[in-house]
Amino acid sequence: MAFLELREVTKRFPGVVANDRISLEIDRGEIRALVGENGAGKSTLMKVLSGLYQPDAGEIRLDGRRVVIDSPRRAIELGIGMVHQHFMLIPRFTVLENIVLGSEPARGGLLREREARRIVGELCQKYEFTLDLGARVEDLSVGAQQRVEILKVLYRGAEILILDEPTAVLAPQEVRELFVNLRHLRDQGKTIIFISHKLDEVLEIADRISVLRRGVLVGTVRREETERAALARMMVGRPVLLELEKGPYRPGEDRLVVEDLTVPGPGGRPAVRRVSLRVRAGEIYGIAGIEGNGQSELVEALSGLRRASAGRILIGGVSVTEATMRRMRPVTEGRVRRARPVAEGRVRRLRELGLAHIPEDRQRRGLILAMTVWENGVLGLHRSPSFARRGWLQVRPIKKHAQSLVREFDIRLPGLDIPVRNVSGGNQQKLILARELGREPTLIVASQPTRGLDIGATEFVRQQLLRARDRGRAVLLVSADLEEVLSLSDRVGVMYGGELVAEFRPGEVTPEEIGHYMLGGRARATEAAVGGTRGADGAGGTGGAGGGVGPAGGTGGAAGADGGVRGRGGAGEAGGTGGGMA
């Protein structure tokens, strides 16, 4: 008999059936994967299981007995523990405090710290978790934070662990470590429900895989009996293009040059340290790395939202760094205009130079949620003579413009007059994309452009970025999704601790090696190569130099042809590699 059984569980929200009569049987000591697109109903189902939602119909049976899970507290009493995708941790608290919070060992209201330390220490030992209990959570790596989350659940005596997209934020090595931990837990009799949309991982870790699509359970398969393409078909309901169409790689001139850029972070400590990179017309330069390693600050500096403390940024050959901008006179149509000394006009200047920005947080920075679709469509263009006359908005042309954006980018809306707040996430992102790409920029800075989007919208966004590249735009892509970076980019840089620790072309290095960089490992092959290439913009010569070093460091066969891992722009230009990317 199944340990956990869901019978015809149904959950409705206004307008949608999020879970439509879902029945599942999960055995004790099983790792069960639950896969499906965004909006397929995975999270809803898990919220039903963890007591956050009440099902409208159906029942849940645990160990043969019917149970009603009416609160998270009840769920944990029943031994069901949820490890949330966004960690529910208190950064300022220690590991120990985070774990025991809510069911602290205490005597007379006084926290018994030694007792707590003993209990948690034993748990760590039993399940082979390595953690410093006295460390503050904010100082831990993401992987370690996740272990804290899992321990929190184990400390409360969970028999069933639900992990919601646990690998989304981890580097490959950390994923492997997590899987080791999960297998260990399973072998000790714990039941694990693993939610994901990364098929490779699911195929690696799960015993059985259940697929949800639009709220309906499509089927459950054993891992041995399925493969990637079949799962993808089940998920989406149609064959999926796993490969993206990409034109030949024909890089042009430098559109963005970043030299030794240092950017202070929120606490004043540098979040970006001496980063140098160049992005050329007709290429996508991807920045990989675990979130929080300076990517956001780099993008903010590039888009004029954060002041750099040192270094230079050149867009289309024009220096736009704060210090230089103050003195510099922007050249427009050969005429010298008055310099704008204040930071206020900076972003505007950057946009005039052809910068388009697709921000990481689309709801806060990409759109004004309370404003309508047509108003959002003209943001940033509202000064142009076709949309404004003497300070008065020309509503009709603006609406026409919005209409054409909506048509061109296939944005699905009930109307232009609704607030953007009421538009789905995918269509919000499409609107931003339409606005930013619609003004024919020369440089596109896209940060986490597909985060939280469903497969359809993700495909669309990626195709638009590739199309922009094929049309000769320069694209800087920052994404926490390594797969995305590798599949879209022509060149990739890895950021760790604010530094660009490696630079290579996709296919040149193994995922393990990339993971090594993401976790702070230095580019092994490259120290010598950098010496050879730094500062040298020439193509052939540097490529050759890098090529000589690459194989010696063991970066793989491809490196020999393309140049060392940190080719620094020189490598890519080494003739002959251009067409090789298709």
Partner: protein, 303 residues
């Protein structure tokens, strides 16, 4: 002379200290309490009322009860109904001013002051009062001064070492995480706000019953706001708040003494504590770290 100045600083700083300690409880639970000023006004008035009719102890009790009632309003409005905490607090301040005036007319037939009231019998620390240079510090003390300074280590201990303190801090840092762990976020925030009501009430009562011997309209002189500043300056910790409160007390007692010398125009001297507040806040804000969820109403995800 120095110890006399210090003793004066302690007397001046005490109401700020008490209210700042209250603010620590409230803010560590995630609720900004700008209504401290109003709670102090309420405390000062009802403290005088209680003391006038039934002695200082009754004054304290009445002050605390009235102030807690104000705190309860703040909690209901800003925790349960998630109204902006600043708006709620400011509204309370206005309400407290009007209510005190109204009640004063009703009870004493005077809008702006009460009759003279009797405070506690001052106490001295036995033994230490024989040391001459300590004398101003340890003799003729209001019992509330002793209570106030005992509350500092007590509050530290409660916040840092007890289960209640841990949970209080947890809801101030990440109420959602606390909620998923089964903590009662709303109860804890109520506790934080009500405790600040207790302490702000005592602070107000000290002003009228102990310090002045009567209620005078406007006698709090913005001390509630200064207490808030002291708490921030003290980085949301009881011990830090004490240091800041003493600093403000010192500035105030200094301002009294300098007036006597009459070198600088009196109005400028009067500004010292307030100017100090501004300077301190402007200079120190960057280095402090408020609870992560301070000031943000917690909304439970609706199923």
């Amino acid at each position: 002379m120095v110890s006399e100045l210090l003793a004066s600083a302690i007397r001046m700083g005490l109401p700020v200290l008490l209210a700042a300690l209250g603010a620590v409880y409230s803010e560590r639970s995630g609720v900004v309490n700008i209504g401290l000023e109003g709670m102090m006004i309420t405390g000062s008035f009802w403290g005088a009322v209680g003391a006038y009719y039934a002695g200082p102890l009754a004054g304290m009790a009445l002050a605390v009860a009235a102030s807690v009632l104000m705190a309860l309003v703040h909690a209901v409005v800003s925790v349960t109904f998630r109204v902006d905490q600043i708006v709620s607090g400011v509204a309370l301040n206005i309400l407290a001013y009007g209510a005190a005036r109204f009640s004063s007319i009703a009870l004493f037939q005077k809008a702006t002051m009460s009759p003279h009231v009797q405070g506690f019998t001052p106490i001295s620390v036995p033994g230490l009062d024989q040391v001459p240079w300590l004398k101003p510090l340890v003799t003729n003390l209001s019992p509330l001064v002793v209570v106030g300074f005992l509350l500092v280590p007590l509050s530290y201990w409660v916040i840092e070492k007890t289960v209640f303190g841990l949970r209080l801090r947890a809801v101030g840092e990440n109420p959602l995480a606390a909620d998923t762990l089964g903590l009662k976020v709303f109860h804890l925030r109520y506790a934080g706000v009500l405790l600040s009501g207790v302490l702000a009430g005592l602070a107000g009562a000290y002003l009228s019953v102990e310090h002045t011997g009567m209620y005078v309209e406007g006698m709090t002189q913005g001390k509630g706001y200064i207490a808030l500043a002291a708490m921030i300056f003290g980085n949301w910790s009881p011990v830090g708040a004490m240091g800041a409160a003493l600093l403000f007390g010192f500035a105030e007692s200094l301002s009294f003494r300098v007036v006597e010398s009459a070198v600088v125009p009196y109005q400028f001297i009067k500004m010292i504590p307030y100017a100090l507040t501004l300077v301190v806040l402007a200079g120190v804000l960057k280095r402090t770290r408020p609870p992560a969820a301070d000031g943000i109403p917690y909304e439970r995800e609706e199923a």
